[in-house]
């Protein structure tokens, strides 16, 4: 719907309803997914400003009187205790979900498209992190990463809006951008592009001091290559076509190439201390989400 055309209010509303329908469902999926992973802000495992109780410490000179836990002190004989909470520091997590056309694929009605799975994972992760008090930023958003990261309760919705606003692009890798040291980056996509470009992009994140993980989302058909007979393959990102006389004959070669692609991504992660998660759309999203979450928690602890 271009601006020059006269607005058809009904059309617009219908489109909005359809779009929001999908998002509602996606939000719901993401929320259900997020709930399966232990909720809560991750602490820094050290005393500091925060909500949760961390430890009691004998009173030392200079502690403000307001920090004294009188009840605890009354139990001991002649000693005063200070109540300390765990330091809960908010980190910024940058999430990138592959917006390229090659994600718009599902080999069977039973499976979701890769894009939907990637977005679900991204939003679920947003929810989890937002619940933990983190701030979440979307790589390659409309503002080119210039807008401020989201935080708080509405982060997931706003993150989703940002994803929707992004529209279709043909960027198959995240654009390098400035991130704060200690930030976490999660890149979700299929990375079907020049491996060197992928490396460059990921290394640019690492160079800024970010840790993170790469989630490679693939359709079962991409993994198994269950084609046989005379088959014409169409590229999703270009009008290119390839015809094979017998697709089954190249299946073994294809599988090897696919494995190599994943291996390359894995090696890249290993070399940077990142985590690589291979995910297929016929698997439950929970496993991938858990892997990513654990990876980010560990990374945060290490940092």
């Amino acid at each position: 719907m271009s601006a020059s055309a006269p607005y058809d209010i009904a059309d617009l509303r219908r489109a909005a309803a359809v779009a929001s329908d999908g998002f509602d469902a996606l939000l719901l999926d993401a929320e259900r997914l997020a709930r399966t992973v232990a909720a809560g802000a991750h602490g820094r495992r050290r005393p500091g400003p925060g909500e949760t109780f961390w430890q009691h410490r004998p009173y030392a000179f200079g502690d403000p009187a307001a920090t004294i836990d009188w009840r605890q002190s009354a139990r001991g004989a002649g000693r005063l205790f200070v109540r300390q909470t765990e330091w809960e520091a908010a980190a910024t997590a940058w999430i990138w979900s592959d917006p390229s056309a090659s994600m718009e694929y599902a080999s069977d009605d039973r499976f979701e498209t890769k894009r939907r799975r990637a977005d679900t994972l991204a939003v679920a992760l947003t929810m989890l992190l937002a619940r933990g008090g983190e701030r979440i930023g979307l790589c390659g958003g409309v503002g080119g990463g210039q807008e401020r990261p989201f935080h708080g309760r509405g982060a997931a919705e706003r993150f989703l809006e940002a994803i929707a606003a992004r529209g279709d692009t043909d960027t198959t890798i995240p654009t390098p951008q400035h991130v704060a040291p200690g930030a976490a980056a999660t890149l979700i996509g299929d990375f079907y592009t020049d491996p060197a470009e992928v490396e460059r992009a990921v290394e640019s994140f690492a160079a800024e001091g970010a840790y993170g993980c790469i989630v490679h989302v693939a359709d079962p058909a991409e993994i198994e290559f269950p084609f046989a007979g005379r088959t014409e393959f169409q590229d999703l990102e270009s009008p290119a076509r390839l015809t094979f006389g017998d697709a089954a004959a190249v299946a073994a070669d294809y599988r090897a190439a696919f494995a190599a692609h994943r291996a390359r991504l894995g090696e890249l992660c290993d070399s940077l201390g990142w985590t690589f998660v291979a995910h297929a759309t016929d698997e439950p999203a929970t496993t991938a989400l858990l892997s990513v979450y654990v990876a980010l928690s560990d990374g945060a602890r290490a940092a």
Binding site: Y105, A218, F233, Q234, L242, T243, F244
Partner: protein, 937 residues
């Protein structure tokens, strides 16, 4: 194979040359590969890197190639118009054709062959431009008189289509005479004799006569078995059908289907011919009640008049109808069982209402201790007796009761009133023996048994008529049996019960003989009609006639009647097979009889040829269809090859194939279905059961009779609802909500109790409604008549409700009543009560007297207590009618202090328990408790 090819020809053989183009098609098909399967693929970059191993297009697979060639070949062959069994048109013969058709029932079974042959001859005649003449060997009188005339092929085809087999045996003599009268054309006829292949009388004459007219080719059907039913005999337990066949061939098995006169199938009997045998039997075992219902027997699958045996009404057994209940065979207290035992040898029994009985074929109707008859029923029975029926009545308590107050209709002699006169008031000390049989009666030749004593009887008013009509008398010359002729029929009255309660007569052998004499008094009985001598010139008009295929159809209006002698002579042109006389007891003339013996006409000689087995058949359509199916298969295969249908599972493929094949079968097999024989008429269904009856049958429900007073109906409903609740609360009876019933229409047998509140000026129920109630009471139901007027009743005065009740009871056959006695089962069935209290007063309650039909359980309670008013509670559980104070009247229980409303509920519970459990509590089970309680007081 050769014969198959020999019978296959093409309408346009030149088209077959196109088959030469097949190799070219091969090359073209080979060069065009199937379209590739297209699929989007995201990991396209990875594919780009792969070496392309098979970029060159594949060739069409060999299997598909062969399939497509086959399709092309089939299409070409189909276009050439192949015909199977094409008629042989290559004859230079210009002689006219004379077609002689055997059209007796012996040819009916395989009539299709004749049809095929006739159409083949018609086609041949049309092709050769030859004239055709026909002649049948079972000529009608008109046929026999006319000369053989030539027709053009078109007219012949019409005439041939109208030819049908007749139900008569062939008349070769008549046919030969007709052939002799004919003059052959120059060069003679080309004679085709469509024969049944059997040797009939005068076959030689016909053969010679035909040979004089031209060259005879006799078409014979060597495989025809020509089954027919030769006869039937009835054993005591079984009907035996004699089956014959024309050719003593291999073992052959089949079935005889016995059907009722309305076409309903009754039974089947199997038969089996031993190898070489020409006769066998089929035995059919039927319940006695159904044997009289047999209308016809036919050999299954043989469409021929000879394979049908029509049942003759004269062979039927006496049909005896019981008014009301026929009694169980094993019930030694019921009179019905003694009557049945005595007559079982020659009679079948059924029970029903007066209307049903008089409209049935019953020759004897038994009224076993039936007291009052409604006027309408009495008239009906009277008219039926005038028409020739015999009415046999037995005495009993009901008759004694009915004789008390009015002149009993349908009695041969006036009865002396006074049900209570018997027993104590009888005039003898010792039981009286049977003394004499009257000379005038049908028992005249019976010997008087010395051992029959009568203990009780209903007395006839002494006088001239009684003496005259006494057929059997006791030693004090009081009548035991009186009887009188009325019109064509008779009324016979036994002054004792049919059970041994009153006399020894039912035990005696003379009882059997007496009943036999009575049964055959009927003018409608076969015995008498059989006795008519041969000179009887009474004409019996045909009711329905058989056609050649064995189907019964209505007789044409001008069909001649037959006398008994003619009927006995067997079928001929003037007495065609069928049913004659009265539809109820028809005289049957059957096509085949025991005299008929069929054998193959092998000795005739002459030139024979078999019937063409199949009519010409166009093969183009099935070939096109086959090509179409293959084409669909090819499309499916191509799809699978291109990978277009990866998810088309084997099951779905099989389904599609089945659908296609089913369509093909339907398209091609239309005439195969059309040839299935028309079946017997569908069996009649019972009328549907109403949903209220189903509801009431599933759960126990109390019922009340709808009046036209809505306030009264409401009170009845709430009264019974409250009683149902109390039953639910206090007893194991768990009734559902009560149901309002309409006596005219509703099925009553599903309710245990019907509460009938009598309103002043209510519309009198119809006779059907009263019959409904009688039936309900007779089979264990309990009706409570409540006039609700005890408050207003004055001794000797008649309240409007009581007048209405009296009008009803006058027309209802109710057992004798008496006031509710102390210790009646009604006062003991659940609570121990001294009275069945209701809301109003202390008027008497009437119940049936003595041990009636239902094990002594009273089928009726009459009172004026307004029970429903006492029971009724509205939705708020508040009583709807005021009760009298506890002080007034006596209490209801053995111990005092029970509130009046509670008394009413207890009475209701007891009534319901009696209705549901009968005399279960009428034993002495409570005696110890009773004694104890009395002692405690």
């Amino acid at each position: 194979m050769a014969s198959f090819l020999g019978s296959l020809s093409f309408a346009s053989p030149l088209l077959l040359a196109a088959l030469a183009a097949l190799p070219a098609i091969w090359l073209i098909l080979r060069a065009t590969p199937p379209r590739p399967r297209r699929t989007p693929f995201p990991a396209f970059d990875l594919l780009r890197e792969l070496e392309d191993k098979q970029r060159t297009p594949a060739r069409t697979p060999l299997l598909l190639l062969l399939l497509r060639l086959l399709i092309a070949a089939l299409a070409i062959v189909a276009l050439a118009g192949p015909i199977l069994n094409a008629p042989n048109t290559a004859a230079g013969d210009a002689r006219p054709i004379l077609v002689v058709v055997d059209d007796s029932w012996t040819a009916a079974a395989n009539w299709r062959l004749r049809r095929n042959a006739l159409s083949a001859i018609a086609a041949e005649a049309r092709a050769g431009g030859r004239a055709v003449a026909t002649m049948t060997t079972t000529p009608t009188e008109a046929d026999a008189a006319s000369l053989i005339s030539l027709m053009d092929p078109g007219a012949f085809q019409d005439a041939a289509a109208a030819l049908e087999p007749k139900a008569l045996p062939p008349d070769y003599a008549g046919a030969a005479a007709r052939a002799k009268r004919a003059t052959p054309p120059a060069g003679g006829y080309d004679i085709r004799w469509l024969s049944d292949g059997l040797d009939h009388p005068n076959a030689d004459d016909l053969q010679t006569a035909l040979a004089n007219l031209g060259d005879v080719t006799r078409l014979v059907d060597d495989d025809a078995q020509t089954l027919f039913i030769k006869g039937q005999r009835a054993d005591s337990a079984e009907d035996v059908f004699l089956i014959g066949r024309a050719r003593a061939g291999d073992r052959l098995e089949g079935e005889v289907v016995v059907s009722a006169r309305n076409g309903r199938e009754l039974a089947r009997g199997e038969f089996s011919f031993d190898p070489g045998a020409q006769e066998t039997e089929a035995r059919v075992r039927l319940p006695l009640a159904l044997r009289n219902d047999i209308g016809a027997a036919r050999i299954e699958g043989v469409a021929s008049a000879g394979a049908v045996r029509l049942a003759d009404g004269r062979a039927r057994r006496a049909l005896v109808g019981f008014l009301g209940d026929a009694g169980d065979a094993g019930d030694l207290l019921a009179g019905g069982s003694y009557i049945r035992a005595a007559m079982a040898q020659y009679a079948d029994f059924f029970a029903g209402g007066a209307a049903a009985l008089t409209e049935s074929d019953a020759s004897l109707i038994i009224l076993d201790d039936v007291g009052r008859l409604r006027d309408e029923d009495a008239e009906r029975l009277g008219a039926w007796v005038e028409r020739g029926g015999v009415l046999l009545r037995f005495a009993g308590v009901n008759v004694a009761e009915a004789a008390q107050d009015n002149d009993l209709p349908l009695a041969p002699a006036p009865l002396r009133g006074g049900g209570r006169a018997f027993g104590g008031a009888l005039s003898w000390e010792t039981p009286q023996p049977l003394a004499a049989f009257s000379e005038k009666g049908p028992f005249a030749d019976l010997t008087v048994p010395p051992d029959v004593f009568v203990r009780q009887q209903v007395l006839a008013a002494p006088g001239g008529v009684t003496t005259e009509r006494t057929w059997a008398s006791l030693s004090d010359s009081t009548p035991l049996v009186t009887g009188a002729r009325r019109g064509a029929g008779a009324i016979v009255f036994f002054h004792v019960t049919a059970s041994p309660e009153w006399s020894d007569l039912p035990f005696s052998g003379v009882f059997v003989e007496m009943l036999r004499r009575v049964a055959f008094l009927s003018a409608a009985m076969p015995e008498e009609r059989d006795a008519t001598d041969a000179e009887d010139t009474q004409q019996f008009q045909p009711v329905s006639l058989l056609d050649g295929f064995g189907a019964l159809g209505p007789a044409p209006g001008d069909a001649p009647g037959v006398t008994l002698a003619e009927a006995a002579a067997g079928p001929n042109l003037n007495a065609p097979p069928g049913l004659y006389g009265a539809a109820e007891a028809p005289i049957a003339i059957n096509a085949a009889s025991a005299h008929v013996t069929l054998r193959p006409a092998a000795r005739l000689g002459g030139q024979t040829s078999p019937y063409a087995t199949a009519p010409p058949q166009q093969l183009a359509a099935p070939l096109f269809l086959l090509a179409l199916i293959l084409f669909a298969t090819d499309a499916l295969a191509a799809l699978i090859y291109a990978g277009r249908a990866p998810r088309l599972s084997a099951a779905r493929a099989a389904t599609s194939a089945t659908v296609i094949m089913a369509g093909a079968v339907l398209a091609s097999g239309g005439d195969a279905f059309a040839q299935s024989p028309t079946g017997a008429p569908a069996a009649p269904f019972d009328s549907p059961i109403s949903s209220t009856a189903i509801d009431a049958a599933i759960a126990t429900r109390l019922a009340f009779v709808a009046t036209n007073d809505s306030e009264l109906d409401r009170l009845s409903f709430y009264g019974l609802s409250a009683l149902s609740e109390e039953l639910y609360r206090r007893t194991a009876v768990e009734p559902e909500a009560p149901q309002q019933v309409d006596l005219e229409r509703d099925e009553l047998s599903v309710y245990p109790v019907i509460y009938w509140p009598i309103a002043a000026g209510m519309t009198a129920p119809s006779d059907e409604a009263l019959a409904n109630v009688e039936l309900f009471m007779r089979f264990g139901g309990l009706v409570i008549f409540d006039t609700r007027d005890d408050e207003r009743a004055l001794p000797g005065a008649l309240t409007p409700e009581r007048a209405a009740l009296r009008d009803i009871l006058r027309r209802l056959d109710v057992p004798p009543l008496r006031p509710l006695p102390q210790n009646h089962v009604l006062t003991r069935s659940f609570y121990l009560l001294s009275d069945l209290k209701g809301r109003a007063g202390d008027g008497p309650i009437w119940v049936a007297e003595g041990a009636g039909d239902n094990d002594g359980v009273t089928p009726i309670i009459v009172g004026g207590r307004d029970w429903a008013g006492a029971w009724a509670r509205d939705e708020m559980n508040a009583p709807m009618r005021r009760m009298p104070s506890a002080a007034s009247g006596r209490g209801c229980a053995i111990r005092p202090g029970v509130p009046p409303r509670e008394c009413a509920y207890r009475a209701g519970v007891n009534i319901a328990m009696v209705a549901l459990t009968g005399n279960y509590k009428s034993d002495q089970v409570h005696t110890p408790t009773l004694l104890e309680r009395l002692g405690a007081q």
